[in-house]
Symmetry: C2
Subunit: 123 residues, 2 copies
């Protein structure tokens, strides 16, 4: 409808809704994607969970949910696309939320030598 723009729609920072963000992150697959983005932008294909490959359409759907909630940004990059965390926007709108969500240790996985999390919860 609106030309051949490859640019997907992203909500403005001021329009981010807390419930949408929480919902987007409430799915294990999507939370895992968000966590994998902490280290920097990656291609869509790299968002695949290690070991278990999910169909392209399913992955794209999760990315859409994250994008429409304002959690990630999805920009064209040559033939591929780069997915990145909207960290600054989220920090501005919901201070501390991202740190709390991404900083906590993944559920039951107490893998030793996990250098991903900056702050150790649980005493």
């Amino acid at each position: 409808m609106s030309g051949t723009s490859r640019d997907l729609a992203h909500p403005d920072t001021a329009d981010l809704a807390l419930t949408d963000v929480l919902f987007a992150l409430s799915d294990p697959s999507r939370l895992a994607i968000a966590r994998s983005l902490v280290e920097g932008p990656i291609e869509v294909a790299a968002c695949q969970p290690a070991g278990a490959e999910i169909p392209k359409s399913t992955l794209s759907h999760h990315l859409k949910t994250l994008r429409e909630a304002g959690v990630v940004r999805n920009v064209p990059h040559g033939r591929q696309r780069y997915v990145s965390l909207r960290r600054e926007d989220l920090d501005e709108r919901f201070p501390g939320l991202l740190a709390a969500v991404l900083g906590s240790v993944p559920q039951e996985v107490d893998a030793p030598g996990n250098g991903l999390t900056p702050s150790p919860p649980l005493a």
Copy 2:
């Protein structure tokens, strides 16, 4: 035995799952309930959103979701029940999460001239 066997089940602090907590709080009604609990425990009937009364069963359902996610505690108190935030448990398991979620301004509720004033009213 002591007669009072109407205690509802609450997940142990160590068993709290981040995705469950996020999901429980991703619903506007439930988020509102959580917010109203910041000031202290209240009865179930007091969890009703101001203005719009929802059926008892619906309210109870939301409280169940919050309780099973470990967000709130629901204890008998005479003929009624007290609902309270499991603030300490959540802070222990997911540091900063509650502050970030409850401290943020309720969904940009179309306030003209409202210029994002992130104020964490924690007491």
